[in-house]
Amino acid sequence: MADLYDRYSSVVYAVALRVLGDTGAAEDVLQEVFLQLWRNPNSFNAARGSLASWLAVVTRNRAIDSLRKRRPETDIEDVVFSVAPDLAGAAELSRAAEKVRGVMGAMAPAQRSALELAYWEGMSHSEIAEKTGEPLGTIKTRIRAGLIALRKAFQT
């Protein structure tokens, strides 16, 4: 567990802190995510993706739940995704972070904003449409296009 912590705690903590904006709350989520992994290591299936990606998704979900003061809605066993880029080491993680920031920086501000409101603030598409005053369909299109742009950047 100590080895896993040393390798991936920066991912988990950074994601939790980005959502919650509070170091104490982020530390609590960090504890919770690693303890869940300790209690149930089989919830992560190495054949389906990298542990860093899985931890990032699990952490973001837990942090959003915490942000909204709600009980955890997603069981960690339910987080399934297909093979993501190999983010096994610190160097790969750092390169990935750089690349994602590059793609996000190149997006139109409205598209980046829609993605960030959904991802980091846990807003629904209706809430985003209401906040930005844009049609629901536009928000949907922007969010999907944003995710696909990220995917393509890692396919090349």
Binding site: A2, V11, Y13, F34, L37, N40, R48, I143, L147
Partner: protein, 256 residues
């Protein structure tokens, strides 16, 4: 537009947990029947993980590491509530008798729990349970009474060999493991027990450190329900335990 294209944008929202209400319910229903949309959802979830990487930078405070390791150590110790080191007289006993009593007691306890839950018409069964408990006390008396004289017989001039016995009751998810003559461990290391399932990777089944006499035990570690065991094995891992074996198997055994 094909049926799947119709869901493309909703799938992206779903992956971000940004789809709510009727749209989500409709997509949930579609996902139960559509493999290609489930696959695309998995891909989109992987894409959201990339988005998370943009937050990289801040590092957790030093104290967080120790806090986690302390919490893990506390949980790792929990299965050792019946550790031989704390009750040295267990180590004097024949494993089979000890484990049989423990498994029987656990089974009885679980049975009692169920009985209590269905108390309404269960007074007769409770009486039966009480009778069984009394029987258990009689069976266990020579083993658990402090004044009992305990003697272990071994072959003369034979160096004691490390041995472990696992008693696994799959239907009740109960596992009792007793070890003896285990060599001392390097600092900050522990023995980790693994349940080797019929298929798939070894499942962690508790860690233990032997006492001064080389005895140790694991009682009812947390395990996935109903797992069929092909074998059990022991490796040496860090004392907090490992989710997967990281060292060679030292001991292993299949069913008797």
């Amino acid at each position: 537009m094909s049926e799947h294209e119709q869901y493309d944008e909703d799938l992206a929202l779903y992956a971000l947990d940004a789809l709510r209400g009727d749209d989500r319910a409709k997509l949930d229903q579609h996902l139960t029947a559509c493999g290609s949309c489930r696959l695309e959802l998995e891909r989109l979830r992987a894409d959201t993980a990339l988005l998370a990487m943009s937050a990289m930078g801040p590092r957790p405070p030093q104290r967080a590491r120790q806090r986690l390791l302390d919490a893990v150590a506390r949980e790792a110790r929990a299965p050792l509530a019946h550790d031989v080191a704390r009750r040295p007289w267990w180590g004097w006993l024949g494993w089979a008798a000890t484990a049989a009593v423990i498994v029987f007691a656990l089974s009885l306890w679980q049975e009692n729990t169920v009985l209590r839950a269905t108390l309404g018409s269960a007074s007769a069964r409770q009486a039966e349970s009480a009778r069984q408990l009394e029987q258990l006390r009689k069976i266990a008396a020579p083993i658990i009474e402090p004044e009992t004289q305990r003697v272990t017989l071994v072959a003369t001039k034979t160096p004691p060999q490390p041995q472990g016995k696992a008693f696994y009751l799959r239907s009740r998810n109960s596992l009792v493991f007793l070890a003896s003559n285990m060599p001392a461990l390097p600092p900050q290391k522990a023995y980790e027990l693994w349940l080797i399932p019929m298929s798939g990777s070894p499942v962690p089944a508790g860690v233990f450190k032997p006492d001064a006499h080389g005895s140790g035990s694991v009682v009812n570690p947390p395990l996935p329900a109903g797992l069929e065991a092909k074998a059990f094995a022991i490796t040496i891992e860090n004392e907090a335990g490992s989710p997967t074996p990281t060292s060679p198997i030292l001991m292993s055994g299949t069913g008797e």
